[in-house]
Symmetry: C2
Subunit: 405 residues, 2 copies
């Protein structure tokens, strides 16, 4: 069996933890498996490197940032390979370039184009545990690139797919994926199984255990992921394609995202092209618009509302103000004291009453819904941020998530 | 004109110094020159990395040490390239592998086999200042190697030779090469010019400004080196081939090395093969033997004495003790309270009285000579360590080195 494991920065934050990871990796190999381990930079390394840049320049070029930051993972892989060898098993470390991860040249946010697995296969055949630097690759000019946010997860999934691995284990500091944030709802249950679609929604909604980009890639290749704790041996959450037969629950989890701002435009012209003008301008400014709602209030006028990350609010308001004459809005409003509460579940598709049940639960708590957006496997509501925890608890109870088996 | 500059770890120890180096490099480019800059790891980086290893293993594999330590220079080049760009000049950083430095696979002490300058030439042609990581290369397996001691000096000289650079400037924290250590002899003079042979002896004798390996390489390619301070614009010391006509002084400098231990064997057998047995055994233990003296004291018995670095003394004594029956020595002695004082000068070859003058000067100071060794351009004496400074001062005065122009 071929196993790909990924350990995040907190799992390799110091020498003792690196030795613990080494023990865990060796345990897997001693079962007779081939093992590839992907690691991130140690704990604070990346922050320390970024701090160094602060003394040099306010606008570091992307190529040189990649040259700099990629050293973080290189340090981790060398130390982990040393630890594994010290504990008696053969190991070799490989950088993103050495492992054959070819990316485009979009420095600091590169995309993987191709993986040449020759070196990897050779090292595995020689019986080595292969320790790979996550987050990095090289482009066609032999320049070092980094993959941006979620990079190490993406490296692990991409390698597992390229090697046709039997499983890809994502080790993290929690036990797996939960029905909701256990800090908010102590009864929250660990999920044994979620399907890709659900995981993708949960990942996008801020359940930070796994990056959406990695989930997408796993889905694309039908690769099972196992999200589990690096601090114990408990089984975690399996992410894979799930048959309808297996679905026991309509709603799988409740998620909450506080990084949301809401903008509303009143009385824009009711004619073709208005939405295009507005959202094209926002996209040009690289503002990540999430929910969009348009509603005809009167005969020839519309209201348009949308949400974006709080960091983009200022830029978004500038765009909205600039476009006022063009879209004809009589005024606009914004609010960053809101949160997005969502229920996720692949079973919703065939259960049309789920959204109504959600609205009822929130109504009973006296929570006002400012915006609503639905997809096939998700219902999201924008509410006041101060009521978000109350909403999460109410929904977790309403859909009986603590009673899951 | 094509200039290769090399800056050591103390010259790039923090953000402020990196920006100072950037300014200096840009100054050179603004004269219309093409500039390649080789840098070492920042100040303590290498020590910090080695400390990390201490928590992981007592016997790190060489390949993984190279993987780890090479990150030090990679951090420096990224930051220096950022600083240069921030100050308005185009720059690009390249690792040893990217710059095409192919080495053998002797990890931690690799030798450069070949340099493929394609990428370098391309970047220079595009007007970039090229910032190269010293001390590192890749082997034929695409694995990262490091060059061991004096590695960054060697990288700079090798690149300058491969590019047929007009000059290779070695920036350090002193003004150049001195007639002797200015901390011991305040009248010591900076040398404007030394030839390769002299520099090689001075470098080997502990004048730490330039590694002997880099001097050898420069000599082999007839490449002029300019040793100068990174803290001021003073002209430093030029190291190059010197015509006899130019030699004004018989003795160029006085050097002193405290890292010496002396071992003597009494009454070894006087028959062929004895020296071979002894020094082969020492070489097998990788003990770096420096001076060797054999003297026939009586008819059929010999004494043999040799010196080695103090760190090798224990191992050397073990070898000597083990071989006692085989070489027939009646006893042995050792002393690590000694120092080696040397005078160096290419003019000695044609001035046979120089050694005698040295002995006279030391005799007048009441200094006893324990061992003597001579080469064409050097005379070295082993004396008590406590008298070494006195000896250096006396020799500096005797050969009128403070009066040089």
């Amino acid at each position: 069996m071929l196993v790909v494991q990924k350990y995040g920065g907190s799992s390799v934050a110091n020498a003792e933890r690196i030795r613990r990871v080494a023990g865990r990796v060796i345990q897997e190999r001693d079962k007779g498996h081939s093992v590839v381990v992907v690691v991130s930079a140690m704990g604070d390394t990346t922050d320390d490197l970024i701090e160094l840049v602060g003394g040099i320049t306010g606008s570091p070029p992307d190529r040189e940032m990649d040259m700099l930051l990629s050293t973080g993972e290189q340090i981790s892989i060398a130390l982990l390979a040393m630890a594994i060898q010290d504990m008696g098993s053969p190991a070799i470390s490989l950088t993103g370039g050495q492992v054959g991860i070819l990316t485009d040249d979009a420095h600091t946010k590169a995309k993987i184009l191709k993986i040449n697995t020759d070196r990897l296969q050779k090292e595995l055949k020689q019986g080595n545990i292969v320790v790979v630097a996550g987050f990095q690759g090289i482009d066609q000019h032999n320049d070092i690139t980094t993959l941006g946010r979620g990079g190490s997860d993406t490296t692990a999934v991409a390698l597992a797919a390229a090697l046709k691995a039997d499983v890809c284990e994502i080790f993290t500091d929690v036990d797996g994926v939960y029905t909701t944030d256990p800090r908010v709802v102590p009864e929250a249950k660990k999920l044994d199984l979620v399907c890709y679609d659900e995981m993708l929604e949960l990942a996008n909604l801020g359940a930070a255990v796994l990056h959406p980009r990695a989930v997408e890639l796993a889905m694309q290749f039908g690769l099972p992921l196992h999200v589990r704790s690096s601090f114990n041996n408990n089984p975690g959450t399996l992410v894979k394609e799930v048959d309808d037969m297996e679905r026991k629950h309509v709603v799988t989890g409740v998620a909450c995202d506080y990084n949301v701002a809401k903008i509303g435009l009143f009385d824009v012209f009711d004619r073709p092209g208005i939405a295009y003008i507005l959202f094209k301008a926002l996209a040009d400014e690289k503002i990540n618009v999430d929910m969009i709602i348009q509603s005809a209030m009167r005969d020839d006028r519309n209201d348009i509302a949308f949400t974006c990350p709080q960091g983009d609010l200022k830029k978004a308001l500038e765009v909205v103000e600039r476009l006022q004459p063009e879209v004809g809005s009589e005024g606009f409003t914004s609010d960053d004291g809101v949160a997005k509460v969502s229920i996720v579940g692949a079973g919703m598709v065939s259960n049309p009453g789920v959204a109504a049940e959600m609205f009822e639960a929130l109504y009973q708590e006296g929570i006002n819904l400012e915006m609503i957006s639905t997809s096939e496997i998700k219902v999201s509501c924008i509410i006041k941020a101060g009521q978000a925890e109350q909403a999460v608890r109410a929904l977790h109870q309403r859909f009986n998530l603590a009673g899951r088996v």
